[in-house]
């Protein structure tokens, strides 16, 4: 716990509050954007370094690691997506690594960055009270991030459906399945729409739910006193699995949805 003056409820609420600038819908979660962009840039910068030097010669260690990841993603894409597409593989790589890095922020002890931000903000004179500083360091515990990702994928699903099946084919799929009868068109449309909308919703909520719950458990563990140390460790070890798995699931489902969108049933 960072401060004796806080009640547990306040402590939890404090941790779950984004640093927000602006009002209403046009408010921006500065911490979410800051950390996610920082991690995205870190990912692209470090991979770009390899890409610039990459050649068929004997690779260095970091290059090996990057190539391992790239090959892993490439294989996953090739397994599910048949056909040539320049976008899907890099999309999958970006999704996997970026989400993984954002999830990885969860493993930094839950109070470190918020506390640092609190006193930093106070000393720099942004706020009068350290407790007015809010800092949520795991961007994937923000619905905005997960929905930004899943809605982008959703847009791609629709684009790919139209691109590969044509407007007519897509409309047919929306109205003539699963019941191939003109009278059941409205029913089909409702069913297919739900199916379609469930994809981005489930993508976003699955990632958000897992990470939010994980974060919440870290926060709860942080309140139990001395025994939080082994408990933190145990949960963090388990959480390594969760964050990797969630990044992988998001990537795989994106590939699967896009390959479904681009092929006839």
């Amino acid at each position: 716990m960072i401060s004796g003056e806080q009640t547990p409820t306040q402590y939890i609420q404090h941790h779950l509050q984004n640093w927000t600038v602006g009002e209403g819908f046009w408010a921006l979660n500065v911490d979410t954007i800051f950390w996610s962009v920082l991690l995205g840039v870190l990912f692209l910068w470090s991979f770009r370094r390899v890409a610039k030097k990459s050649s068929a010669e004997v690779p260095g260690k970091w290059q090996c690691f990057v190539e391992m990841l790239v090959e892993f993603v490439d294989n996953s894409v090739k397994e599910s997506f048949h056909g040539k597409d320049k976008l899907i593989a890099p999309l999958a790589l970006t999704i996997f690594v970026w989400i993984f890095l954002m999830n990885l922020m969860d493993l930094i002890p839950v109070d470190w960055l918020p506390t640092a931000a609190m006193y930093g903000g106070y000393w720099l004179g942004f706020v009068d009270d350290p407790h007015d500083v809010y800092m949520k360091v795991v961007p994937t515990t923000d619905l905005n991030t997960t929905f930004a990702l899943s809605l982008s994928v959703f847009a791609l699903i629709i684009i790919y459906s139209i691109k590969y099946k044509g407007m007519k084919g897509f409309a047919k799929e929306m109205t003539l399945t699963p019941f191939n009868h003109w009278a059941l068109m409205p029913v089909n449309f409702v069913l297919e729409s739900i199916t379609l909308l469930a994809k981005p919703a489930s993508l976003a909520l699955r990632l958000f739910g897992n990470l939010y719950a994980g974060e919440l458990i870290f926060i709860l563990i942080a309140m139990i006193g001395f025994w939080q140390l082994p408990a933190h460790f145990a949960w963090a070890v388990f959480h390594i699995l969760v964050i990797t798995l969630q990044a992988f699931i998001f990537m795989m489902l994106t590939i699967v949805y896009l390959s479904m969108a681009s092929s006839e049933h």
């Binding site: 921006l28 996610s36 390899v50 990459s54 690779p59 999309l91 790589l93 619905l143 982008s152």
Partner: protein, 156 residues
């Protein structure tokens, strides 16, 4: 945890990241990987081929060596045979030569002996005749008794 403009910001960030990754990160890396895979497989193939070539060459060498050994053995055998034959022939020839020489010697000796004997006989005959002549100079007529002398000479 409300949905707000962050959604738009994150979407833009995501699109930019994916675009960057697609343009500048993915292609060079995947190209390098594929190129290296090709290189490695080429190298492995070359190694395999070289191994096969080596085996073939070794086999050839062994065969040639065997052949050469066989040939050498044959040559040695032949030369031994020829040597033996030559020795035999020469021995034979030597024998013949010797016999020839010996025979001719014999012949020569015989003919010489005959000649000498003839001469001796003639001389003895002459001597006998002259002796007899001297002894019976007065009694014997050379022409009348020549057949008796001839007979005498032949008996010598």
């Amino acid at each position: 945890m409300n949905i707000n403009a962050t959604l738009i910001g994150q979407t833009i960030a995501f699109i930019v990241f994916v675009w960057f990754c697609m343009k500048f990160v993915w292609p060079p890396i995947i190209n390098a990987i594929e190129e290296r895979q090709k290189k490695i497989s080429d190298g492995l193939n070359a190694g395999e081929r070289a191994q096969k070539d080596l085996e073939k060459a070794q086999q050839e060498i062994a065969e040639q060596l065997k052949e050469a050994k066989q040939q050498a053995a044959e040559i040695i055998e032949q030369s031994k045979k020829r040597g033996a034959k030559i020795v035999e022939e020469e021995t034979q020839r030597g024998h013949e030569e010797r016999e020839k020489i010996v025979a001719s010697g014999h012949e020569e000796v015989t003919s010489e002996r005959n000649r000498v004997r003839e001469e001796l006989r003639k001389q003895v005959a002459v001597l006998a005749v002259s002796g007899a002549q001297k002894i019976i100079e007065r009694e014997i007529d050379k022409d009348a008794h020549s057949d008796i002398v001839e007979k005498l000479v032949a008996e010598l």
